[in-house]
Symmetry: C2
Amino acid sequence: MEIKFTWPQGFQSGATHAGFKADQQLDFGWLVSDVPAVAAGVYTKNQFQAAPTQYTRSLIQKGQTLQALVINSGNANSFTGQPGLDNAAQSGHLVAEKLNISSDLVGVASTGVIGKQMPMDKFKDGLAKLTLTSQSQLPEAILTTDTHSKKTCHALTIDGKTVTITGFAKGSGMIHPNMGTTLGFIATDAKIEGSLLQDLLRELIQSSFNQITVDGCMSTNDMVVVLANGQAQNQTLTAKHPEFVSFKKALQTVLINLAKMVAADGEGANKLIEAQVQNAANPVEANQVAKAIVGSNLIKAMLFGEDGNWGRIVQAIGQTQAQLNPNQLDIQIGGIPLVKNSLTVPVDQAALHQILATDKIIITVNLHCGEAQGMAWGCDLTYQYVEINAAYEG
Amino acid sequence: MEIKFTWPQGFQSGATHAGFKADQQLDFGWLVSDVPAVAAGVYTKNQFQAAPTQYTRSLIQKGQTLQALVINSGNANSFTGQPGLDNAAQSGHLVAEKLNISSDLVGVASTGVIGKQMPMDKFKDGLAKLTLTSQSQLPEAILTTDTHSKKTCHALTIDGKTVTITGFAKGSGMIHPNMGTTLGFIATDAKIEGSLLQDLLRELIQSSFNQITVDGCMSTNDMVVVLANGQAQNQTLTAKHPEFVSFKKALQTVLINLAKMVAADGEGANKLIEAQVQNAANPVEANQVAKAIVGSNLIKAMLFGEDGNWGRIVQAIGQTQAQLNPNQLDIQIGGIPLVKNSLTVPVDQAALHQILATDKIIITVNLHCGEAQGMAWGCDLTYQYVEINAAYEG
C-alpha cells in the first residue's frame, strides 16, 4: 500500500548546501540507519565507472552491510583517476568518523559534472553541517537537472509487523541504465537475508530501472542501493517465507514507481511514454521491444508534436532482434487501435488527438509470438531537451 | 580524382513530378543503362524490410544484373503487406515494358511515409512522363527532408580507359544504417565481376554508410545499389587486376563522400561531426567507438550549443564494449587536446570556442589499446530536428 512519505523505522537523514552547486541549493546529504543494515546494489555497466560507484560496489560486495550513505550532487567524481578514488574513500572515512562507526559501513554516491575532482574542503564543510532528522529533504539534495524530487513510500505487513519501504531517485539526463542505473536508494526496515536481497534487486531492476531511457546515454555513476535494517522485527525474510512474495511485489512497485518518475521528468520532458508489449516470444524480447519504442528519437519527437505516425513504431520494433510475425502486429495508442494484423485501422482522429494531448501516452503492441509481457518508460523529445543539453556545465 | 557531376558512359536518367509529394516537387525518376549492368546491393537489417527493398534484393541476389532502377520519394511502400509487394513487382514490370527489357532487369526503390499503399495511378502517370537524358535531376527526385541533393563523381584510369563512378544518396532522418543503409546509388562504367562487386560493396559499406547516424533509427527501406555496365571497356576487374586497388579506393571515396553528405544534412543539422578513433584493439571496436560518439544525443546537443563538455565523450566511449585503457585515454576536439592520459589538459578556451563555432567538428580519440583506426559521421541535435519530427507526415 502506498503511504505518505516517511523513513522506515531506525532510519534518519539530513541534507544541506555544501557548495557543490551554486545558489544555496541542497547538494549534500546522508541516510543513516541506527544499526548496520543488509545492503544490496546494482551499478552502471559503463566501462568508465565513477570512483564513488566503484567504492560503494566494492564495500557492498565485501560485507553486504552498510549503515550510512553519503550522497552529493553537483560533482560526479567520475573520470578523476586515483585522486578521485582516494577522495571517495576519504569521504567514507570522514562520515564514519563523525558517526563513530566503521568506515566499511559507509557508502558514497555522487552525481553531476564528469571530470572534475571533488572539492574535499566543501565536502568537509558540508559534513560539519549535516544532522540527523526525520525530515524528507534528502531526495531534494541529490537532484541535478531534475525539476522535482522523486520519492515513494510503501507499507505492508509481514509476521504481523508493519514493514516500510522508502525509495528515492534522481534523473534526468544521461539516463539509459543497464544493470545499475541512475542514482536510486531504497531504505526498508524489513529483516531479510543479504544474498536474497541482492538477488531480488538484480531481478527486479531488469523490469524497472533498466526499462527506462531518456536519451540512450548510460551514465558513469549509476547505482541503485537497498538498505534493510531489520527494525520492523519481522522473521528474517527468506525465499520460503510465506510473505516473501508480498515483500517482493512491494519492492517491485517501489522500483517501478521511481523508474517511472525518472522517465517522466526526463530532461525537457512534457510527457511520460509507456510502452506495453504483449505476447512476445519471451520476457527479454518483450522488454527489448518496449525499450526500443520509448528510446526512439523519432517517436519521442513525434509524441512531443502530438502526432500519431505509427510507421515509426513499426520501424523501432523492426530494428530489434526480437522474434516478430510480420503479418500479425497490432498497435494501439492510448487504447485506440491503429494497426491490426499488420493492417491500418480507420481511426477517429479527434479521439486520437485528444489522447496525444495528454501527459501520459501508452503505446500497446501485440507481437502474437508467445505469451511474454514487457514494459518500458521514456519521455518525449522537446526543444527544452536540446536547450538544456546545448549548455549544461552542471 | 573528383570530377564535375556526369553520368558514366552508357547511363542515362530522368526525373519528374508524379504526385507522391505535393507542390510539383520532383518525386520520381529512373537510372537506365544502355546494356545490362553487373549489380550489387546491401539492404537494411530492419526486420520490417519494405516491399521495394525485398523485391530489388531478390532480383540482385538471383541475377547480379540490372539495367534500370526506378525510384520514388513521398511513399516508402513499407509495411504494406502483400499489396505492397505486388505493387513493387508491378512497378518493375511497367518500367520493363516501357524500356522493352526483361522485368528481371528493373530494380525498384522507395522512400517516404511508412504504411501507405503506393498510388499506382500516380506511378503510371509519372512513368508516362519519364524520358532519358544526360541531366542530373535524378538525385533531387529521391529526397525527403533533405535540404539539398547528395551526389559525387570520381574518375580514374584502368587499362588506359577512363572509368567514372557516380554516386547519389538521400538522407536525412531515420538514418542509422546497418549493412544496408539509406538510399544510395552508384553507377559506374567499369567492367567488373559480379561477385567481386558484391564483396567489395559489402566490405566498403562497413566503413562508409554503416558509420553514419543521424538519429539512431534504422529505416525499413535502406539500400545501396551499385551498377557497373562495363562501357569503359577496361579488362574485367578481378581481385588480381593490377588496378583493382585503385578502383576499390575510388569506390570507397565515393561511398564515404556520400555518407558524409547524408550525415552533414541530417534533419535539422547545423554541423557535421566526425569522430576519428585511433589505436583501438581492432577495426570493429574502432568503428564502434566512433559511432557511439557521433550517436550520442548528449554530445550532439552539446555541439549544437558549441560547448566542449568532454565528460560526455568519456561517457559515450565507456558505454561501448570496446577494449579500453582507463588510464590512457586522449581526447581532442578540432586538434585541441582536452584530455591526455585520462587527465584534463588546460585549454585555451577562446581557441576551443572558435573551433566549436565552425560547421565541421572533428573529435579525435586515442584509445592506446592497439593499432586500429575507425571513423564515423553524424550531426548536431538542434531545435529544428525536434521541429521537423514533431510534425512529419511526409
